[in-house]
């Protein structure tokens, strides 16, 4: 539903594009902000979850009698307390199975029981008294191993979908996806040079610093309250209510301040368990994950194995591109391989292209979304091959990409034809950027890569109330992770023509506002922002009508300008303008409270592209990599609050740096995670990094009144490849496996030396 998008180029913004202080700022620098674990309630109990020590085991018997008898224990729950109410909804059943193991424990850390007790020690002691009779089964954690015939099978209900003929035997391959067009075989025949390589990436975790936490309070009347750190409290409400057989109206969920999510807080883990414990104990129950639990039992992203084959002419034009992607998404269906496959070649203008994806299950925690789910790994593989091909045809990476880049009118690799997109502008801007001209030091290499992400809109609902003094109370339903309340205030102020500080935005609880989709898909500034603008326009309609009443003229004879109602023209009458405050002061007399609303399913989010440049220095004796310089160039459509747009660019780039160099899930032969902590799961620390330069491009999105595009996710797509290209250039050898840890780099250097 393109709105007044025609105006957006002409439009000169008053407050949008400025950098005011965020409304939640003071609370967050003084320690007052209340996050998930910061809430308490009278009579609160401590909830703790017992987790499987085995990667794969049949649960033959659970004996909780001793735990129940322990003084101070008020409730114990197991699978028996979570009857299947999902009536045929396979995805919801997987969630149910994931939050509390049923016939089998499918990964180390899988919840098998939970207790609520008067204090932490009692809860901990109670867990030790729960006796579980396991039959340990063979396990598999590697994606390629899980696909092999004879691999331990997790579910006897999975028969690969999307292949002909449909298999008779169950396997770990859930589904085959295929995207593309043209004839790749024919395309490769036309190629002068073909590069074909296989890549591997290890699983990584979103690594939000705040562990999952919630405080549940359910009474015997079935009414419940839940305080929780989540990216989507409406999702939490609906999912928990369905799993526990509660009326949605009876469960009120309040989103706490959220200490990072990156996609990892777009589903439920402990929330239904806390509610079940509270219902059973008839007391408030707080459940907080330990960091160890976060790593073992929340939702990391997929590990992958990817083949890429691309052919080019001597002139540097791609003739065909083919990829096969294998993603394991943990113990349940739903790895992000479909989006990996769709996005694989999305940056290029291709006549013959194919991407095949396999969704694979293994004995690992059920994956959750992680920033542009599935895309970074695919970009790592493709952009590595692109860089190699460019050099083989004697072109620079950037000229090769410009020559083959997707543009308006390109038929995308996943099907649809692109409208106006921002890839070429980021490439051309990158080419001019001083970073590209800067000299390199010894043992340094420069790399670049492009990235793509879809973005989406989703269900959104906003309520805007005009107070009697003309200030505005804005209620949104999308949790604020990175400063979105500031952006909402900016857009409401822009539309109403009032100062930023006259608007206060809050994240309303699930009983105070209509349904809102999760804060994900880079949708909040786009979709909640558009709803805010439309709610403001709705309020303006009402304000002008009230002004008309006050003046005794026709509503359509009144216009709205810079926060004032004015007669539309001379013949409308000669009245002094009425400010929003003056109109609001008369609200009671002119028909009651003045409010604007907007409820819709936002679409037209508009795809997003970025180009990253990185200089890396590799110590040839130790294989240590230092990121010397990093630049992000991305299309934001319109930057509502540029500081927080830069923040998204920088944060995404640095998560990518961690993914590329040091972060990985390391499993032992026993199928247990060996590095479930921040000591050995190595996310970047401050001293690892340079400043992250950013360039915001603004190619307006026709689908948004201000031209806004989502920016949250695209920034993590290019870094893996960008750094791999920089490290490969510095080391003089192509790295094809992430993370590029020092032992891997040194081994590659040794292989190269041996070959020479």
């Amino acid at each position: 539903m393109p709105l007044d998008s025609t105006q957006q180029n002409k439009r000169d913004f008053k407050v949008v594009g400025t950098r005011p202080l965020r409304p939640d700022g003071i609370d967050k620098v003084t320690g007052r902000a209340k996050f998930g674990a910061d809430a308490t309630a009278p009579g609160m109990l401590v909830g703790r979850i017992l987790r499987s020590p085995h990667a794969h085991a049949r649960i033959k018997k659970i004996d909780t009698s001793k735990a129940e008898k322990l003084a101070g224990v008020k409730a114990v729950v197991t699978r028996a307390d979570f009857p299947d109410k999902t009536d045929g909804d396979a995805a919801l059943y997987d969630v149910l199975y994931n939050i509390m193991a049923r016939d089998k424990a499918l990964y180390e850390g899988h919840a098998v029981a939970a207790v609520a007790a008067v204090d932490a020690r009692t809860a901990r002691d109670a867990l030790k008294l729960i006796k579980i009779d396991y039959e340990v089964l063979p396990h598999v954690t590697d994606v390629d191993a899980a696909m092999k015939p004879g691999a331990p099978v997790l579910h006897n209900t999975i028969f690969t979908d999307g292949v002909e003929p449909k298999p008779k035997k169950p396997s770990n391959i859930v589904r085959r996806y295929e995207f593309g067009h043209g004839d790749v075989e024919a395309g490769f025949k036309k190629a002068d040079i073909i590069v074909e390589r296989t890549f591997k990436t290890e699983a990584t975790h979103q690594g939000y610093i705040e562990p999952h936490a919630c405080l549940a309070n359910v009474g015997p009347d079935g009414q419940g309250e839940l305080w929780v750190c989540t990216q989507g409290h409406f999702m939490v409400r609906d999912t928990c209510a369905r799993l526990l057989g509660m009326d949605i109206s009876k469960l009120r969920v309040t989103a706490s301040e959220i200490g990072g999510g990156f996609g990892g807080k777009t589903t439920v883990f402990i929330e239904p368990v806390a509610l079940a414990l509270s219902r059973k104990a008839n007391r408030p129950v707080k459940v907080v994950m330990s960091r160890d639990e976060v790593f073992k039992a929340s939702g990391p992203t997929a590990s992958t194995s990817i083949d890429v084959k691309i052919g080019v002419t001597k002139a540097g034009r791609i003739t065909a591109a083919d990829a096969t992607l294998r993603y394991q998404g943990g113990a349940f269906a739903g790895s992000p391989v479909e989006f990996g496959a769709m996005s694989t070649f999305a940056c290029y203008d291709l006549e013959n292209v194919r991407a095949i994806g396999y969704d694979v299950v293994t004995n690992r925690p059920k994956q959750a979304a992680y920033r542009a789910p599935g895309a970074p790994m695919a970009a790592f593989a493709v952009e590595s091959v692109i860089e190699e091909l460019a050099h083989k045809v004697g072109m620079t990476g950037i000229d090769f990409r410009i020559k083959n880049a997707a543009r308006e009118g390109t038929k995308s690799s996943y099907g649809p034809t692109y409208g106006p997109i921002g890839l070429l502008p980021t490439l051309e801007r990158a080419k001019q950027h001083p970073h590209f001209q800067a000299p390199l030091g010894p043992n340094q290499g420069r790399g670049m890569a492009c990235g793509f992400w879809f973005n989406f809109g989703g269900q959104t609902c906003v309520s805007l109330n005009v107070n009697i003094d003309g200030t505005v109370a804005l209620s949104v339903g999308t949790p604020d992770i990175g400063g979105s309340r500031a952006s909402m205030c900016l857009m409401a102020a822009e539309e109403l023509g009032i100062p930023y500080d006259k608007v206060r935005a809050i994240v309303a609880d699930t009983s105070s506002l209509g349904y809102n989709d999760v804060t994900d898909g880079s949708r909040t500034t786009f979709a909640t922002g558009m709803a805010t603008i439309l709610a403001a326009r709705d309020a303006i309609k009402k304000l002008t009508a009230r002004a008309a009443q006050i003046w005794g003229i026709e509503p359509d004879a009144v216009t709205w300008e810079k926060g004032y109602a004015k007669p539309a023209g001379a013949n409308a009458g000669n009245f002094p303008p009425l400010s929003i405050a003056e109109i609001a002061a008369q609200a009671g007399a002119t028909g009651g409270p003045i409010a604007g609303h907007h409820e819709y399913s936002a679409d037209g989010a508009g795809v997003s592209f970025a180009t990253h440049i990185c200089d890396a220095e590799v110590d040839p004796e130790t294989g240590a990599t230092k990121i010397v310089r990093y630049t992000v160039l991305q299309d934001a459509g319109k930057a509502v609050h540029p500081s927080y747009v830069e923040g998204q660019f920088q944060g995404g780039a640095v998560q990518g740096i961690g993914w590329a160099l040091n972060e990985e899930y390391i499993y032992g032969k026993d199928g247990r995670l060996q590095n479930a902590g921040f000591l050995d799961y190595r996310i970047p620390v401050c001293s690892d990094l340079p400043m992250i330069d950013t360039v915001i491009l603004e190619i307006p999105n026709p689908g948004h009144p201000y031209g806004v595009r989502g920016v949250g996710e695209t920034s993590i797509v290019p870094p893996l490849a960008t750094i791999a290209n920089a490290v490969s250039a510095a080391a003089g050898v192509r790295l094809t496996s992430l993370p590029m840890s020092p032992p891997k780099i040194l081994a590659a250097l040794d292989r190269k030396a041996a070959a020479e």
Binding site: R121, I209, E210, A653, G677, F678
Partner: protein, 158 residues
């Protein structure tokens, strides 16, 4: 389980509490004293979100027993602002948008304050190593480092 009586000063105020012998100072601050500004990100001293000072020394309150605090002076994020006067670091963090989700912010502010007290004129590298014990996953640290350098400059002028 023998409980221990502790008398200490927190942000300048005398505070007495009773805690269990194996209870960490972080748990005491959060669960017994309602000072939830210090966050638990890991519980093992790897993330710095629970940073406080004890007798002026920066430390992770998750690596200190509540019992050990007896007779010492503790500084937390709650004591950083002076009434309605924000500490320059707090103000600069807001001006530079040096926080996104904000969960690591209290720990980083406490660490940055300790850093500037020992080194009022840090280089970018010194700031980066000084804050290496505080994980932030949102910002990539860029704006945090700028905010600390800017605050340091302002504090030197003052």
């Amino acid at each position: 389980m023998s409980n221990i009586h502790v008398r200490t000063k927190i942000n300048g105020d005398v505070v007495e509490y009773v805690c269990e012998a194996d209870e960490t100072l972080l748990d005491v601050l959060r669960n017994r004293l309602g000072l939830t500004g210090a966050k638990e990100g890991c519980g093992t001293g790897d993330c710095g979100a629970c940073s406080v000072t004890i007798d002026g020394r920066l430390t992770c309150s998750c690596l200190v027993l509540g019992a050990e605090a007896d007779g010492s002076e503790i500084g937390t994020i709650e004591g950083m602002a002076n009434g309605e006067q924000l500490h320059p670091l707090q103000r600069k963090f807001l001006e530079h948008a040096a926080l996104q989700c904000g969960i690591c912010t209290p720990g980083i502010l406490v660490a940055a304050k300790a850093l500037l007290e020992h080194n009022p004129k840090p280089t970018e590298t010194e700031v980066r190593f000084g804050l290496a014990g505080n994980l932030c996953r949102c910002t990539g640290y860029d704006k945090i480092v700028r905010a600390v350098m800017d605050a340091a400059q302002e504090m030197r002028r003052a």
